[in-house]
Structure formats: C-alpha cells, structure tokens
Amino acid sequence: MASEAARAAEAILMVADEPVEPQLLAQLLEVSPARVDELCEELAAAYQAEDRGFLLARVAGGWRFQSHPDLAPYVERFVLDGQPARLSPAALETLAIVAYKQPVSRAQVAVIRGVNADAVMRTLSQRGYVEEVGRDPGPGQAVLYGTSRMFLERLGMNSLADLPPLADFVPGADVVEALERGLGADDS
C-alpha cells in the first residue's frame, strides 16, 4: 500500500503546470522537504522499474511529470508546436558565457567574445533564456544578466550546479599546443 503522502504528491504533481518546489509540497503534505525528495525519488524509481512512458524529474528547482525521452517520436507527432528554433553558434557561445559568468553585463560578455554582444543578448532574452538579474553597483550601473528559470527547464536541469564544470571545456594540451604553434611559440 502506497503511503498517503506519496499518493498526494502524485495527485498534486498531476495538476501542476510547472515544477513544484519540495518546500511547497512539504507544506501541503505535512512532511519535511527532505522527505518530499525521498518520496519523489522513490516514485521516480518505481515508474522506471515499471517501464512507464513518463518520468518524474527534478527540474528548475521542483518536481514535474514529463514524457519519457524514448517516446519522443510519438509525442512529437502529437504536440503541434514545433521545437523552438535552434540557437546560432554565436548565441550559444554567448549563452555559455552568461551561464558560467553570471551575473554579467553586456560589456563583460563583449570583452570575452571580442565583439559587441547587444544583438545576441537581445535574441537570448527574447527567447527567454537570459534575463536581467540586477544592476552593477559601480558607476554606470550596468544591467547584469543571468540565465532564467526557463533556461533550466529547457536544459532539463535542476539548478546551475548541474552545469558541467567549465574546466571540462578548457582545450586539452594538444589544442593548446596547436594554438601556440600558430602563434609561433615554438621558435624559441
């Protein structure tokens, strides 16, 4: 017999239209947030063991039901909205800078990219991936940007801590060597 709290969590998550935070679930179920995470993890494991066509996932700070990625070919045909258009390489690079350096101003992004970043930043905020998160306290009070909740949802991540460490992308010795050769460093 499933526990009342687990069943209540299933019922609430079924009518929620966005991820539900463990704190809220805890308050509604009268258990601790840690217990909520435990319950939801048990449920998620059960669905997986039963080979269900859906999952319970922790996304953007909360729990939500979603379709199993295996079944994308079927769901695709059902969902009328097309997938959002892909981002250009320049936009992706800029998004990565915002994701890892946030909060960050447009000027700071421009310094790293070596080019004006206004157009790309506008695209990213129009698509809902980045948003204003504050103002630089220094002179000029530049607008500071960070990634949005939608960014986490689109990436299926619970929090920014789920981003792979930036160090993973620092080029390896072979690439650095090639770059150095390009700069003529092997003369000496």
């Binding site: 079924m14 929620a16 039901f65 390489p89 992706l92 070596g114 990436l155 993973d168 620092v170 390009g182």
Partner: protein, 273 residues
Amino acid sequence: MVCGVGPEATGILRTVSYAVHTDVYEGPVDLLLHLILKDEVDLYEISLSRVVDGFLAYLDGLASAVDLEMTTEFLVIAATLVDLKARRLLPGPVDVEVDEELALFEQRDLLLARLIEAKTFRDAGNAIEARSQAASRSWPRTAGLEERFLALAPDLLAGVTPADIHAAWLRVTAPAPPPPRVVLDHVAPVRVSVGEAVDDLMARLPGAGLLTFRALTDGLVDRMEIIVRFLAVLELYKQGLIELGQAVTFGDLEVSWVGEPGSVFAGADAYEG
C-alpha cells in the same frame, strides 16, 4: 591549389556564411582560421588583405541588410588572423634581452589565453546545445487544474478594471529606449582598401626613411582603417620593400624603407579596382 574541406570541418561551415576566395584557399573564413591552427594552410600564402578587401566589397554589395552577427564574427576572426600573421612576420626575438623575451612571451600568452577562452566557451555552448537537444525529447505535463478545482482557484482578475488593461497595454507599447542601432561605423565608412593604403605608403615611405607605425596611422581613429593600414605594411614587408623593427617591446613599430629607388609594388595588380 585549393584546400579541400574535410568532414571534420563541416561543423564549422555553418557558422559563417562569408566565404574567402584567394588563390590558396576558398571557403568560409572561420574554417580558414581552423585550418591555419591545424597547420593545414600556410599563413604566409594567404593574402589577408584580399580577404579583408573582399569582405568590405561584400558588405558594400549587401547595401542595407547587413547581418551584424556575421560581420562581428568576421572581425574577430580577421583580427585573430592579423595578430597571428603579425607575430610570424615580425622579426623574432633574435638577440633581445631576457626581460624583453619574457615580455614577448607574456604578450603571446595573453593572446593564447584569449584564444583558449574563446574555444572554451564555444565548446561549453555546444555542450549546452547538446543538453537542450536531449532535454527537448521530453515534454512536461502542463495540463493544469481539473475543472472541479477551477472554482476554488482565486480569481486572478479580482479588482482588475478595464482601465488597468488599458494601462498595461500602454506600458507594454510605450516607446522603448531607442532600439540599439546596428553600429556599422567601424565597417561601412571604410572606403580605403588595402591597395589604396599600399599606394599611400609607397608614396610616403621612400622619401621618409624611417617612420613609426603610429605616425603612419596618425589621424586614423577607425580600428578597421588601422587594420587595413597594418595589412598594407605587412604586404610591403613581404615584398622586401620595408624593414620592420621595434626598439623596445611594446614600443612603436618602426617602418623603414629598404626598397630600391623606383621600386614598384609587385602585388599591385591584385588590388586594381
């Protein structure tokens, strides 16, 4: 000879639509940088000036609808190429002091650090794309409340008046701060081609003996014009018409005329028109 485009390069092909056409190379400019870094194209063999001139002509041809993203991408790559090429063409640290050699290393390290940073974020961006592609294979449940609970839900329009709706409309359609202008000042007004810059240098240098690069670019405020001027200097250096020197690291680049009187610029025909 024209370089082939290997399959590993196809990922780069989509990034920049401006193509380079020179005797040694035909293809997207981003790929060119990639190949140079892989030592597959000799930097000496590429006429950077033709790449830049071609791009400027291309921008002119576009008239109004300039793709800002592509333009800025090109400038980054062109600046990196110029930087790479300058480092190869400038006299090496033959008998410089240890201090100066260290400073040279530092300078090189700075550029290297920038390239590594750029590559790091490009790869991180690709990883974000891969994650987003993987995540997009799951769709969230968004059905929301069943009818029987809707009556319980607080009425979100409680207290909202038609005037509030009108005010919200005015707020959202209020003239925003003027839309960021597509600033092409750094590209469009440059009417001086590398060929013209070469002509100008050929007119000034033989009589002057030694001039600093600073003096040669005096009065130029536009970064692109300075780059064009620098490319012209490099072309003359390649022809053996000038010597380049730098008395102090980070000091002024000195340009001295060493060509025979009456020398003509051999590559001049490449710049006609």
